[in-house]
């Protein structure tokens, strides 16, 4: 294992790879992903659809085992989760590591009351008795800002609105006091006003419980407003990684630069927006060199021949690019 740093990370992911399919047609959905999460820290995973961010999250908990193969290591408190048995994983999922999913409409069981769904988690992961569990359920609903919590325990998911259902999801996820929360696009299906409420909630809970969070999103604005660290993914790999302020202020990978420039912020109205030319490569036929080379404005011959590794020159920031962008900030603003 790696050296212990000042804040020893609670989650350390090294060279995580997930492959779907078998035989001739294998899809390398996630390749050599490494990152770590400290207590109370929020890591953002950003990228376009199909870049492997959700699969990475699922692979951490072994949820993609059924359909594919995961290699590499996921150290959770010094223990490699990738090789743990399904029975061991069941104890960890929902207990020490919890997950919230993108669609609050489909990820709750419509046939069970909200109270029962919170109770389920507590029964599985804590030694509380029935009255303690009920008290905790009320406390959790209260905590996530659901008014009249006690009376709403007996209600079914369809009686809640989208934002309220996402709060219920968070309440279920946090009921057993996890040390790590994995959030897969928790606000994508919600309106901006509700999104702001939910993100604030996650932010304050992370600080209050000293809980690590991995937040998957495609919205750079969400990353800017909530995360401490960010990793940008493209075609299954991390292409740029570092502190949010640094990466968003002065992105160095041409893909990150392109993503930031496509957001219509600080652009004169009704002028053409920047867009990255072309489309992401198919994971079935990735180029030999850098996966982004076909769309990259700064590609060189080298980029088409070999793949740049994620290198960490400054200690603070890692970029996988041979010709990283040096223009600081200006290109974006």
């Amino acid at each position: 294992m790696t050296l212990k740093s000042v804040h020893s990370p609670i989650l350390q992911v090294e060279d995580l790879c997930t492959t779907f399919g078998s035989g001739i047609a294998t899809i390398p959905a996630v390749r050599d992903v490494s990152f770590s999460v400290n207590k109370g820290e929020i890591l953002g995973l950003v990228g376009e659809s199909g870049s492997g961010k959700s699969v990475t999250l699922r692979s951490l908990l072994g949820l993609s085992r059924r359909y594919g193969e995961t290699t590499g290591s996921v150290y959770w408190k010094g223990d490699n989760l990738v090789v743990r048995s399904e029975a061991d994983m069941r104890r960890i999922r929902g207990g020490e590591i919890a997950m919230i999913f993108q669609e609050p409409m489909t990820s709750l069981n419509p046939l069970l009351t909200v109270g029962m769904q919170i109770d389920e988690t507590l029964k599985a992961h804590t030694a509380m008795n029935a009255s303690e569990r009920k008290a905790r359920a009320v406390e959790m609903l209260d905590l996530v800002g659901i008014p009249a919590a006690r009376s709403r325990l007996g209600e079914y998911p369809h009686q809640f609105s989208g934002g309220m259902r996402q709060r219920v999801m968070i309440a279920i996820a946090l009921a057993a006091r996890p040390q790590l929360l994995l959030a897969d696009e928790p606000t994508t299906a919600l309106d901006v006003t509700i999104q702001a409420q939910i993100l604030d909630l996650i932010l304050s809970l992370a600080k209050d419980f000293d809980m690590g969070v991995v937040l998957v999103t495609h919205d750079l604005g969400v990353v800017a407003q909530t995360c401490d660290q960010v990793a940008v993914m493209y075609a299954g790999r991390i292409v740029e990684q570092g502190a949010v302020r640094q990466v968003l202020r002065a992105p160095q990978h041409p893909y990150t630069v392109g993503l930031m420039r496509s957001v219509p912020e600080n652009v004169p109205p009704r002028t053409p927006l920047y867009s990255i030319p072309g489309t992401p490569p198919s994971l079935l036929s990735l180029p030999e060199g850098c996966a982004f080379s076909a769309r990259c404005p700064q590609k060189t011959v080298l980029c088409e021949q070999s793949r740049p590794h994620l290198t960490n020159e400054t200690g603070e920031r890692a970029v996988a690019c041979f010709s990283r962008v040096e223009t600081q900030g200006d290109a974006v603003a």
Partner: protein, 331 residues
Amino acid sequence: MTEAVLEIKDVNLAFKGKRTVLDVLSNRPSRDVHALNGVSLDLRRGETLGVVGESGCGKSTLARCIVRLYEPNDGEILFQGKDVFEASERKDRSYNRRVQMMFQDPYSSLNPRMTTRQILSEALKVHDMCKEVDIPEKMSGLMDLVQLPEDALDKYPHEFSGGQRQRIGIARALAVEPEVLIADELVSALDVSVQAQIVNLLLDLQERLQLTILFVAHDLRLVRHVSNRVAVIYLGRIVEIGDSETLFANPSHPYSQALLSAAPSLDPDDKGKKIHLEGELPSPLDIPPGCPFHVRCRHKTPKCTTELPRLRPLDGRGSVACHHAEEIENV
């Protein structure tokens, strides 16, 4: 620029709720969803009017009313001075040709069993746009217009990505040479970089073909980017309408202010001065009396709970439906 192409006057639309036998016996009124409550606006020739609001506020219902997919209970929609819901106008399908809609979901808005060629030629034939022999030429022109390769004509929708499908949707709308385009969340389902491509295409087409666009979206940055004017809708009512730059730089209605401040900024240091909206959109089944926003408003007074504010013009700004628009400081 100033001539109004479409005038929407005081449109109301309620979707009737089901009444059970019990409701009838106990004389309970039916539970209606009040989707639009007196919306009035004009769409001026050549402009882009952005319509923003939370989900369930009636933006899409308004768009669908305009293209005659829903008929309002009350009020009128005038296209070049004629009421489009009048019997004689209903028979005339030229309105459907001149006002075209583009839909949100690129996966369900194209028939999966038709090739692009069939999709486009159907539009051309229904409206008798050109002679049978000219169709192939017209179609390759359209492909060119939306920047798709010509071999896309013989492919089925599943062979395209989301962005490409939206281009086909745009080509289908443009095939019949419309004057007004209604874009209902045209790019919401797409990734940012693809979003930028479609928005650029739309802006370019607007200039070349002199289109008038109603751009319905919930992404405020995008609306700000494409629109000349913006209307903010809350519970089926316009609460603020005005010039896009003025409204975004200096929103007057407390709801617009909160909505704008909730949009996450790309600047990590731009935290903290958010206005937090408490609670959620009330149900359109049961709209609060007085100003519909008063239950979530930080500035409410007793007057707001009883009296409905009318949309009124403010000096140097757009029109605002708030009793206290003058006193409210912009944060």
